[in-house]
């Protein structure tokens, strides 16, 4: 009954629209970007992208020896190394709180915590610029109640990056929380009951029973969050434009600036350097997951 040929024909009809769009708008550009990164293509070549000269590894060498690029790489690492653990801790705390403690109105809290995830970053920027404003800002007003004189957050070389990290945690913890909630709901109640019988307190039960069982979920969310945070772009773009004095410029942000200056070849080489880092981290993640 099952005709192999008819099945293959149907499969190709179903696959075709995707493949065409995918080749034109994803696979093509990925390869195109790779090619461009070895040429001296600039904005003036926009209409004649094939009439450019190969320059070998020049763009990569230029990127790696560029002070601002190094600064951007440092900032991106700073953002990822502080931002990812913070986001996951807040997300896990919220998930445990909702799963084990909050039985009534659980849906309300879940939706509430998730709201920033579905909100436009541009709108968030408008709101947060007010929250972080030096004089009339919400945050400094609240700090003032406790006698703390808050700084001009976004104009400070020291505080601009922590402000953006706080904003990213606020904006993103909801997604990780939902994944943690799904993971927690997969852990049978009996595991905790067994711990309770053995006299383990709430923290011990969490630390030695729940957390080890959540390990795959934690690894997974840390890498998906990490991949997202490595591409850190929108927060500095809408809040600080990378300033003050490049203290919040990220690799993606600097790549975009180079694109804006018309240095297409240089921009693509920077994007590919980021790509390599992300690929390596993803690869390590898969290895870690497979071991378990």
């Amino acid at each position: 009954m099952r005709s192999h040929r008819r099945e293959t024909t149907a499969a190709w009809i179903l696959v075709l629209p995707f493949v065409v769009l995918f080749l034109a708008f994803t696979a093509g550009p990925v390869l195109g970007s790779f090619g461009m990164s070895f040429t001296d293509i600039k904005q003036r070549d926009l209409r004649t992208p094939f009439a450019v000269n190969g320059v070998g590894l020049d763009n990569y060498l230029k990127a790696l020896s560029d002070e601002t690029f190094r600064k951007a790489a440092f900032n991106t690492a700073y953002f990822v190394l502080i931002g990812v653990p913070l986001t996951l801790v807040v997300a896990l705390a919220a998930a445990v709180l909702l799963d084990r403690g909050v039985k009534r109105f659980q849906g309300l809290f879940k939706v509430g915590y998730y709201l920033p995830v579905v909100t436009s970053i541009v709108a968030i920027a408008v709101i947060w610029r007010f929250v972080l404003a030096p004089e009339a800002g919400l945050l400094n007003t609240v700090l003032g109640w406790f006698g703390v004189d808050g700084p001009n957050w976004l104009a400070s070389k020291t505080w601009a990056m922590p402000s953006l990290i706080a904003m990213a945690v606020w904006r993103n913890f909801g997604s990780a929380m939902i994944i943690f909630l799904a993971g927690l709901q997969g852990i049978p109640q009996t595991v905790e009951e067994a711990g309770q019988i053995d006299g383990a307190g709430p923290w011990q039960r969490f630390r030695y029973l729940i957390l080890p069982l959540l390990r795959p979920t934690v690894l997974f969310t840390s890498v998906t969050t990490g991949i997202g945070y490595l591409q850190f772009f929108e927060e500095p773009f809408v809040m600080t434009q990378g300033g003050p004095l490049n203290s919040t410029i990220s690799v993606s942000m600097y790549t975009y600036q180079q694109f804006g200056f018309g240095n297409y070849g240089l921009a693509t080489s920077m994007a590919y350097l980021l790509f390599v880092v992300i690929a390596v981290i993803t690869f390590i993640q898969f290895r870690l997951l497979r071991e378990k």
């Binding site: 024909t9 696959v15 461009m36 209409r47 939706v111 436009s120 408008v126 975009y256």
Partner: protein
């Protein structure tokens, strides 16, 4: 009982921290410029005014941006529903050469940073004459690896017996897909639809470079340019603009939230 009250207290404090900026935005959009600049800031508007909204829809061209955002989001959503379910079904249920390679390719693109495709895509779309056009805004997003992954996972969970029954009845392969299997994926389609719509509505960087004249701006582009241009100090207008960008998707999200959270649980991805 003793334990629960402080758990709720923490949960409520968390909710306040998350929601306070939204509430402030909404209240701020009804304040006058003078009140918005006051130190210390006020919570409730002292003399509530709709002036900011009148300006937004009168002097500024927000109805047009709203229309653009809606059109782009609807077409992108429709494209993802149709094309991702088609290939998702083929990857999950049909045997053909290259199936596994195709699936691995789709998965691999999930980790490609947006910046990698950005420059060549801009060059390509410009040379195709699609800059500053609706197709230029829409075409790059008509399919997504996330959508393919989601639909493939969902189709994989459906029994093969249904397809075999269709084959016995003489239904064509495409008929089996469209009339037997596709209707069963309604929950996954709802998830994909709402997530795609939200993503497209909030999409920012691509429309910013592709929409070059005001009549093609989407809402986030317009709001971003207003907040850096000559209206940067017109806080009331910006607050009202942010409300117009945020409120439609928040309402939509609250109504369909089950589908969103289930989609994340199925795929583990946003």
């Amino acid at each position: 009982m003793r334990r629960t009250w402080w758990i709720y207290l923490i949960a409520v404090l968390g909710l306040v921290a998350v929601a306070a900026p939204f509430v402030w935005m909404l209240l701020g959009s009804f304040k006058t410029q003078g009140e918005l600049l006051r130190v210390p800031p006020t919570w409730l508007p002292e003399a509530p005014t709709t002036q900011n909204y009148d300006d937004l829809f009168g002097k500024a061209n927000f109805p047009r941006y709203f229309f653009n955002s809606t059109v782009v989001a609807l077409v992108v959503t429709a494209g993802n529903l149709v094309f991702c379910s088609m290939i998702g079904y083929a990857l999950a249920k049909l045997r053909f050469r290259g199936r596994n390679a195709l699936f691995v390719l789709v998965l691999a693109t999930l980790m490609v940073p947006g910046m990698v495709t950005f420059v060549p895509l801009f060059v390509f779309v410009t040379n195709a004459g699609l800059a500053n056009s609706y197709p230029g805004l829409i075409l790059p997003f008509l399919v997504s690896p996330f959508g393919v992954f989601l639909m493939r996972q969902f189709f994989s969970g459906l029994p093969d017996d249904l397809m075999d029954a269709g084959r016995v009845d003489g239904t064509s392969e495409l008929g089996i897909f469209a009339r037997i299997m596709l209707p069963l994926t309604r929950p996954a389609l709802a998830t994909l639809g709402i997530l795609t719509f939200l993503g497209s509505w909030n999409n920012f960087l691509w429309p910013l470079v592709i929409a070059q004249t005001e009549d093609k701006y989407t809402l986030p582009v317009a709001l971003a340019l207003y907040s850096t241009g000559q209206n940067a100090q017109n806080y009331g207008l910006l607050m009202a603009g942010a409300v117009v960008v945020v409120v439609p998707v928040l309402v939509m999200f609250v109504v369909f939230q089950r589908h969103v959270t289930r989609g994340i649980a199925i795929t583990g991805l946003k």
